[in-house]
Symmetry: D2
Subunit: 342 residues, 4 copies
């Protein structure tokens, strides 16, 4: 016996074709996975759309649910409301290496950066995978980051892969989870997608579609949960950065439904971007026109975010395999655990 994704119901909206963040047109995702002995870690890249993110930036926003974390690049998104690079996810101590790789990626393709125009703002987000990974070893290289970027595709795997290789969630093997929803507004059809790096929670708190499977197991609440959850939201809705920030805040609803109490040590950060209304780096005319979605119609987007985030958490659990890593620590995936504890 086990838990099967297809039998679960996360809300009421329609899912996208692949039920992945890449259902949002233009979004691509790639992984580099390092898996040998004490090294169980990696990089996951999200490319927000085609063409140069620097020359035509993406409207974006960030919300910090709990700021116990070391992500970089968020401040400028909050000020300017734009994303100008792909997003990398990795382990906490590999943020500098990934930032180097992302800088190389941007500088190589943009000779104007740092010469005739200003600098560029790399975005790298992280969780701590030290239970399964020798995080102090800083095994991820800037080349690993470049490889994740180059391998990005509209089809990608979830689970114990990429940045998710060493992550744990609700006491089980976590990692990468993704989902999408298709919504109607006026005469348009739009997609909202999410990709999560899940690394938080204690087993007794896990709720799957409202069911608490392990609530009555013995658990000492005195042992603090150290974890984090990075949440990326993508959409082709024409949302302003203010509206994207409002979407970000709804991610907590999805997390909470899986049982999260957002512990002190859990860095919970949400980044949302829209693939439309791209913002030119240089403007010839100071005034340009663009389309904007009405706040009165945002509820369906908020619902889509809640549903996607809830499903992404559970999806990360269902796609991950059991992993043995640092110091021979083993973390079972949910279905292996259920097989062993029927």
């Amino acid at each position: 016996m086990g838990v099967n994704d297809s039998s679960l119901r996360f809300g009421v909206l329609s899912k996208g074709k692949l039920n992945l963040i890449t259902d949002v047109p233009g979004v691509k995702t790639g992984h580099t996975t390092l898996s040998h002995g004490d090294v169980q870690t990696g990089v996951t890249a999200i490319i927000p759309g085609s063409g140069s993110a620097f020359r035509d930036k993406f409207p974006a926003a960030v919300t910090v649910i709990n700021g116990f974390g070391k992500s970089i690049g968020l401040m400028q998104i909050q000020e300017l409301g734009t994303l100008e690079t792909p997003i990398l996810l990795t382990n906490t101590f590999s943020v500098p290496a990934c930032a180097e790789g992302l800088l190389t990626y941007m500088l190589d393709s943009h000779p104007e950066i740092g010469t005739t125009t200003g600098t560029v703002n790399p975005v790298v987000m992280e969780c701590n995978d030290s239970k399964l990974n020798d995080i102090r070893g800083r095994h991820v290289t800037s080349e690993d980051a470049l490889e994740a970027l180059k391998s990005a595709s509209s089809v990608f795997d979830e689970g114990a892969i990429g940045a998710g290789r060493g992550m744990c969630c609700y006491g089980f093997k976590g990692g990468i989870g993704s989902a999408s929803r298709v919504i109607e507004a006026g005469s348009g059809i739009y997609t909202v997608g999410s990709l999560l790096l899940t690394n938080f929670g204690r087993k007794t708190d896990l709720a799957i579609c409202g069911r608490s499977l392990f609530r009555d197991e013995p658990d000492s609440l005195r042992i603090p949960d150290k974890g984090s959850c990075i949440m990326i939201i993508a959409t082709d809705l024409p949302l302003s950065c203010r509206q994207l920030a409002r979407c970000c805040r709804r991610a907590q609803n999805g997390l909470a439904r899986t049982g999260s109490i957002t512990t002190n040590g859990s860095g919970e950060v949400v980044l949302a971007f829209s693939t439309v209304n791209r913002v030119p780096h240089s403007c010839t005319d100071p005034v340009r026109s663009f389309s904007i979605f009405d706040d009165n119609c945002l509820d369906v987007a908020f619902r889509a975010v809640s549903e996607c985030v809830e499903e992404s958490v559970i999806s990360s659990l269902l796609h991950a395999e059991s992993v043995t890593g640092r110091d021979n620590n083993t973390v079972l995936c949910l279905n292996d655990y259920l097989k062993q504890n029927p």
Copy 2:
């Protein structure tokens, strides 16, 4: 048949003696209820502790989950980290009358305000009860506010009473709900309590302890939910205003578990205060000492907030009676509805 509070399980922590916010020592609550024909509204007062809140302020914090609302007094709490008056809850258009009443209450007992010292910051929070109440009539008076303050006690009623008289929640009669949790930390025993004014949500979204009772009923998501939820958190834990703000952000977890997607039109605001480490209005020595709780131990407080808020929402539904008000609109309480639709 119906839903019975005692059979429901909201988390794992112990409840306080009354399972009300007033289990936090010193906290008192009072109601003024107006209920005649088109007038179904009122005032609820929360007195944070004994003595003058102005002369010995309460550490406090505010978090805005969704700022579609008209509460007053929040800015100064965010700047100074202190609450210096009782808190009043009422309907949206009665905020000015309640602010007048609260000013009168403070000025009468503090001749120094506005003469030898500065001014005072009244806190009034609100939801829109216009479905059941003639809100345009502004029927609440400053005397009603004073009466609620004067009637405050450690025992109080929940449901369709006070500011909750005209409120609706998940399509049923909502209003005032409260809960508490008792927690241990080090050698101390502490209490966390919550009081909510619930006025949000659509029936198909309601989840009671993870169960979605009405999910499959027909529902047009195109009709927006207009509502709000005011959440007051009290504790005798020695928390700083930064830590109280962190507690406030966990209130969303409790809301989300009852089914909320935090709609565009829902003003969701959380105010938390601690009853200890009171801050003197005037200091003789610029440096004073106080006790502070360690962030590493906050998880149990975060869990208590999540549990209290979830239970307070459901408690408001279970305590409210059906009400008929403006234009003969009737909103059934949950148990009346279940009786009529078995």
Copy 3:
């Protein structure tokens, strides 16, 4: 001898026709002044543009420089990025009366509010005028508020008038000050204007165009400055709420140049709105198009805000007359003081 506005130079940009906030097309300002004995106070109304602010809202933003204050209506502006009523300024304890008056104004002209649509968010901002005014008496009525709204015009007076009647600034008589700048961007000509309610600062800190006139006078820094400054910025530049918030933050530059150190007790709040790109209350189509200004071109707007705010502070000093009020307290205006202390 004295200080003369026309001889002073505040920056390098061109001034508008009247050098008032009402140089921004559509903006109107009106005052109600109460001046008899201990009652030296009033109301100032700013109407952001023609037609209904509720049905066609104004893009807006708020920045709190120092949140020691009791203004209302700010939270919703921060969430939704829109202003939906005129703005009233008054003394701290007359906020409820003015809110009542503004509610009456809005309800009378909008029968849909509170019946077929939601509620409305009145904006009232304040300073403490208790040195010259019997603030505890709460002498301002909701009718005074209505009168200020009705008297609004594109020509208005500065100084010890309206909400500014009892205010003090840098030890002199302060009150209402205003200024404007005309800027070019691309092929367009735009106006930025400011209106300030000045009530802050100690005499020894005052700097006029970089000159510190009273720096060497004896002054005990131990007596805290209790004051505030409300700053309203208007423009016909097509700015988003994010960009308006960025403009708000530049108001501090103007304040600082007049000598402000932004004391603990000074409530410094900035509200900015744009008169273009108005946002409909109800939308027939969820996607609409609008124009937006490029962030790369914002510097001239930031400069205009700095210049306007600096000049508005000094203008309030130069336009105010000496006033005697509560307990026969007299506060001299700057030029009377200079005449008496040549």
Copy 4:
């Protein structure tokens, strides 16, 4: 002729012994300077106090005046109110190398990080020195960062040194500037100090103690200013993180007095820490006691911050030498310019 520091007067408070941030007991500063041809850059390290910053953290706060910047480590400071590493300053594209160096520094001295306890939050802040430095070359190494940390001392140089080597300010050579003030509160004597990395502003805006030396020179405002200013504030006042954040916001007053209009492209970020009330990483008892400063007495600290920041900007100009760097670009220091243009 020229401008001489000793003849200038920045406010009214007493200066510390060295008039440097290191007048705050325990604070140390070190530089690594790279200066050869196109490479004109470096690293500046600020060590907040003795012992391990990780095991006994420093109360800290961050305020973003304008978030056009790429600093790292700020989010966690904002959430937890603590600084747990030294602070490094460098050029924008050397943030990853410095973060690597700071991680090495912390991991080497703390075997528990990433094994028996959680991770660590390195803080690296930056400005863009591409006018004088080959920033794309990323010439700073993690060893350079370690060297700056190891060389930290209570005596250090200002000007075109360390991270300031390639920076420009108001059209002149900028870089590192520092100042301090000694204040009395109650029976105590305290110090406030600042260290700035100055890289912003146009020549015509520069004001030195209120005097605009170059205002009437021709200047096309259409050429945007690209710059930044990083501001570090240290104090031995017992301030909470909320109070430190309030201090941060006053830094803008000092900047504004030197002429800044806080342009769109200028990343202006302030970090303040207190050297007292250190926060243990691990607690044996969840409640500890500490001392706290009264908000009513904060004005003198706010004044000290304003004065220190203003003086630090001008001090960076007066200490910097003229530098020739990338593509033979030369930026004159202020006094060389005044000699050449008498």
